[in-house]
């Protein structure tokens, strides 16, 4: 029993650290093919108080919201913003990367 509690606490510690280390929400967005039409996504995400940077890649259908240190945005809120801009989120996850590093990575 004691061992189970220790393992659980250790897992929780690791998970918390991972969540805290995550600095961006990266999402694959369906229907996003035109910069003029997708401008709403960038405008709405940049207006979030927790937003540090926003990166959009039309070719790979990726939207990245980099968060300010110690700040967070619920994934569901993020998805709702994309939906209100007229698009569908296929997948969204927290990643431990900045928008700039993802931009560089995708340009390769």
């Amino acid at each position: 029993m004691k061992k189970t509690i220790v393992i659980s606490l250790f897992s929780l510690f690791l998970f918390s650290n991972a969540a805290m280390a995550a600095s961006s929400i990266k999402a694959e967005v369906n229907g996003m093919v035109c910069a003029f039409c997708a401008k709403g996504i960038e405008k709405k995400l940049r207006s979030l108080p927790a937003a540090q940077d926003v990166f959009i890649d039309l070719k790979q259908h990726i939207v990245v919201l980099e968060l300010k240190d110690g700040q967070s945005v619920p994934i569901e809120q993020f998805k709702q913003i994309i939906k209100e801009a007229g698009y569908d989120v296929a997948e969204a996850k927290l990643v431990d990367q900045s928008a700039a590093s993802l931009r560089t990575e995708m340009a390769k």
Binding site: A35, F36, A38, G40, D57, L58, G86
Partner: protein, 227 residues
């Protein structure tokens, strides 16, 4: 089959087939988007020697927009007509795919017409279907423009391709070919090849209607801004 075609990459062969298919449907120069995002304002205009149109709308939510429109037409008998109207745009259906987007729109205006002979109530309902990827663009549109003593109904198809893919912050150039028929205009059948430039802040199209028949040749410019 359609599912396969919609997911198919925009190869030159596919573009050619899609363009031919588009022109085979019975048939106005418009962009895929007829409104902006939630809580945004869109301004658009088309400018040619015989036809000018300006429209502004506000979208409180994605899918519905309210606005105003103004049209000025010079018909085949050199008579000038104008229409000022309140407009409503509804995104009836949107399909978001991994590599593309398709939309079915309704736009309608109701207002007042002024002509050389008659004036009165004007109405301008239209439906539009469009499909777009980062490399391919197809559109079909039917529109009624009616008022006492006035009929400028139109049907149009557009097909286009982008020269190359660009980043979100860059301007993407496209080539777009449009075929349009418009009642009581001269010429009634118009073919307009155009260069389109799409940026996240603007949409601009510059074309030449009926470029190969000197007596019918007309420049045309389309502009759109969203803010």
């Amino acid at each position: 089959m359609w599912k396969y075609l919609l997911a198919f990459p925009a190869t030159p062969g596919f573009i050619a087939i899609a363009a031919l298919a588009s022109f085979s449907i019975v048939p106005q120069a418009q962009a895929a988007a007829l409104m902006g995002f939630a809580d945004s304002t869109m301004v658009m205009g088309e400018f040619g020697p015989d036809y000018q149109e300006m429209m502004a709308n506000y979208s409180a939510t994605v899918g519905q927009a309210y606005g105003v429109e103004f049209m000025r037409m010079r018909d085949k008998n050199d008579r000038t007509s104008t229409i000022s109207a309140l407009s409503y745009t509804n995104l009836l259906k949107r399909w978001n795919f991994k590599g593309g987007q398709a939309n079915f729109w309704f736009t309608g205006g109701i207002g007042e017409s002024h002509g050389d002979d008659q004036s009165g109530l004007a109405y301008t309902p239209s439906v539009q279907f469009d499909y777009e990827t980062t490399r391919l663009y197809l559109l079909g549109k039917l529109r009624m423009v009616r008022a006492p003593g006035m009929n400028f109904d139109s049907a149009s198809v557009q097909a286009g391709f982008s020269f190359y893919e660009t980043g979100f912050d860059q301007t993407q150039p496209w080539f777009v070919l449009e075929a349009r028929t418009m009642s009581n205009m001269s010429p009634a059948f118009q073919v307009t090849p155009a260069l389109r430039f799409i940026n996240k802040n603007y949409f601009m199209e510059v074309g030449m209607t009926n470029p190969f028949t000197p007596e019918d040749r007309m420049p045309r410019v389309n502009l759109m801004f969203v803010f």
